[in-house]
């Protein structure tokens, strides 16, 4: 797996007039979750999860509160070890490969946390510099220039020397995104990107995610409750059921809303109206 983008590699994802990514891409499978069981000790959160994510997908993980969406994300990025089953990147089982291969896999992830998780003792540029210093041989001047570029990409040009505590919540989310794309990752994970944002900021962040996906050709995995975001950016999804402790559906969110045989999913995707 490489973090570079090929000439003309941006996926051809059609956008409807609403801006929605309305059909799945037919790219290669980049992540495969196989019969995954997640547990905290003896408490099983979810089991028998089975789905694939293709290159260029904006893949939504959704489900009711407490169903284990963020836990699934933590399993996918290697913060938690599966109780059973596998998470495969290409043909690599994340937990079966050795430490150096795992580090190489991690290099291709970008992660944006629910509350940004920017390091508060560092400026925004320094936050972005940390992964660059860890994984590249660039000198401090080049790292600073790349950090400036990443901040400019998320609309924060000029804010390099600000501390996270000095910027707004929306800016913090964008700065977290800048850090997540610092290494030009293949896959970018978002945990509740719109949480706590006003509708306009939320929409702008959605547009930014779409734009970055289309430009970089990266794959995006998003945990979110926001229906507007789900339909605007998502072209594939999985629904986790807290009661059944397993996934009860997967597919394009609009398809699930309109045609899912499960009334719970239809209710979820229409805010209880269907």
């Amino acid at each position: 797996m490489s973090s570079a983008y090929s000439n003309g590699s941006a996926p051809a994802v059609a956008s409807a007039e609403t801006g929605a990514a309305s059909r799945a891409t037919d790219g290669e499978v980049v992540v495969r979750v196989q019969d995954l069981t997640m547990a905290y000790g003896s408490f099983v959160v979810q089991q028998h999860l089975d789905f694939s994510i293709r290159r260029g997908d904006i893949f939504i993980i959704m489900g009711d509160s407490g169903c284990g969406k963020s836990t699934l994300l933590r399993h996918m990025v290697g913060l938690m070890r599966p109780a059973a089953g596998r998470v495969l990147y290409g043909e690599c089982d994340f937990w079966a490969v050795d430490e150096s291969q795992r580090k190489q896999l991690i290099r291709n992830f970008g992660m944006s946390y629910q509350r940004g998780a920017l390091w508060s003792s560092m400026t925004l540029a320094e936050n972005i510099a940390v992964p660059l210093a860890e994984y590249t041989d660039l000198d401090a001047t080049d790292i600073r220039e790349l950090a400036r570029l990443k901040l400019a990409l998320v609309g924060l040009a000029g804010f390099e020397d600000y501390y996270p505590s000095e910027i707004s919540g929306g800016m913090m989310k964008r700065a977290a995104l800048a850090r997540a794309i610092a290494l030009d990752p293949d896959i970018v994970y978002f945990d509740e990107p719109s949480a706590g944002l006003d509708p306009i900021s939320s929409r702008l962040l959605d547009d930014l995610i779409l734009e970055l996906r289309d430009s970089l050709g990266a794959t995006v995995v998003v945990v979110t409750h926001e229906l507007a975001s789900i339909f605007t950016i998502g072209n594939n999804s999985v629904f986790l059921d807290a009661e059944k402790k397993t996934m009860t559906a997967s597919g394009a969110p609009r398809e699930l809303r309109d045609h899912s045989p499960d009334p719970k999913i239809r209710r979820f995707l229409t805010r209880g109206e269907k």
């Binding site: 490489s2 973090s3 570079a4 983008y5 090929s6 000439n7 003309g8 590699s9 941006a10 390091w119 508060s120 003792s121 590249t136 041989d137 660039l138 000198d139 001047t141 080049d142 220039e145 790349l146 570029l149 990443k150 400019a152 990409l153 609309g155 924060l156 040009a157 000029g158 804010f159 390099e160 020397d161 600000y162 501390y163 996270p164 505590s165 030009d184 930014l208 734009e211 970055l212 289309d214 430009s215 970089l216 050709g217």
Partner: protein
């Protein structure tokens, strides 16, 4: 800006395709290496062809690219802008064009960039002085609020949870017994070793008990307890209250009309002030035990002899001095810890800074208070 990276690192062909058009053919791999691509070759080409008015890109030979290409293109844009040269980006891959547009879509907000103006030294002294005055005012206001809170408590109108006080008493008192015992025992042991070595020269070895007993009871017991409390409890107060500040828990109290001084600061202060004298007596006893251990095991003084000398030398007033010291230290450590917690910023690093400041200021205050109290007791002949 970096120097020009090696041509083999980022393959680029520069050619003049018309009298006023320079063509940049980007080919091969443009992924980040040890250096970002520079623009020295382009600058040289432009210097050699002053009639160039347009830059054109060709990228059909480009295989893989990442942010290295983007930084190069942004550098080219700046360079071209400075020389009034137009950049035609039609020949770039679609993703690159979109990212370039994205990077330049939101112009830098006016005034956003941090300038670091050079402040004259006189102004710096003035600013520092004003900051000290502000800090002193803040501390006084905090002490005033504590006094008001105490007044409400005495009138029975404090918004105060008795269970919080009990919990803090346990945390500051009972749970500190182990560390206080260990440190005090070792301090008594050190005092005895140093004292006995000197006293032995005058054949006054038995007075080691006097030295350890008076030293522990008057000063060392209280001071060591104070320092332990500063590092353990004062820092914990600052971190607990600071974290509540970060999580907006203090704002939640205020919006409910509950005074954080009553609810958070007062139980902690009371607990520490109540526990410090008790811990001090406990520390005194363990210090004396430490001294006795050395005297008996190393200098052949009998247990009875040591205890007898201690009883002869150490009076209740010596313990009294220690207890007064300990109570003052308790007030100081509690104020420093709670004050730093209450003025903590809203980030995790601010919590760390608050805890550090609490410990440093507590220890500083303890030393200053010891000096003042020693003079006072001396003047009073106690």
């Amino acid at each position: 800006m970096s120097d020009q990276a090696d041509e083999r690192d980022y393959p680029l062909d520069i050619s003049v395709v018309a009298p006023d058009i320079l063509q940049l053919r980007i080919r091969g791999e443009w992924t980040t290496r040890a250096r970002l691509p520079g623009t020295t070759a382009l600058e040289t080409a432009l210097a050699g062809h002053p009639r160039i008015r347009r830059l054109r890109f060709v990228s059909d030979g480009l295989r893989h690219w990442d942010s290295a290409l983007l930084t190069f293109l942004l550098r080219v844009q700046v360079l071209a802008g400075n020389s009034q040269i137009e950049v035609e980006s039609d020949g770039l891959p679609a993703g690159v064009k979109r990212l370039l547009a994205l990077a330049t879509a939101v112009p830098e907000r006016r005034g956003a960039r941090r300038e670091q103006p050079r402040t004259p030294w006189l102004a710096r002294i003035g600013k520092r002085t004003l900051a000290v005055v502000d800090a002193a005012t803040e501390v006084l206001a905090f002490i005033g609020e504590v006094a008001l809170s105490l007044g409400r408590l005495l009138r029975g109108r404090s918004q105060f949870r008795f269970s919080d006080l009990l919990l803090t008493l346990q945390q500051t008192g009972a749970q500190a017994l182990g560390i206080v015992a260990l440190i005090s025992f070792l301090v008594g042991l050190i005092l005895a070793y140093i004292g006995a070595a000197q006293l032995q020269q005058f054949g006054a070895l038995v007075y080691t008990a006097d030295l350890v007993g008076i030293g522990m009871a008057r000063a060392m017991g209280a001071m060591m307890t104070g320092i332990i409390m500063a590092g353990r409890t004062g820092a914990a107060f600052a971190a607990q209250i600071g974290t509540m500040q970060v999580n907006e828990e203090i704002d939640a109290l205020r919006t409910l009309g509950i005074s954080p001084m009553d609810f958070l600061v007062l139980p902690r202060m009371l607990a520490l002030i109540l526990m410090m004298p008790l811990l001090c007596i406990y520390a005194d006893l363990f210090g004396i035990l430490g001294g006795m251990f050395v005297s008996v095991s190393t200098f052949d003084i009998s247990v009875m002899e040591y205890l007898h000398r201690t009883r002869e030398a150490v009076h209740l007033r010596h313990f009294g001095v220690g207890i007064v010291n300990a109570t003052v230290y308790g007030v100081l450590v509690a104020i420093a810890g709670c004050y730093q917690g209450m003025r903590c910023g809203r980030s995790s690093s601010a919590v760390g800074a608050a805890a550090t400041s609490a410990v440093v200021s507590s220890i500083l205050l303890i030393v200053i208070a010891t000096a003042i109290l020693t003079v006072i007791f001396n003047v009073l002949g106690i």
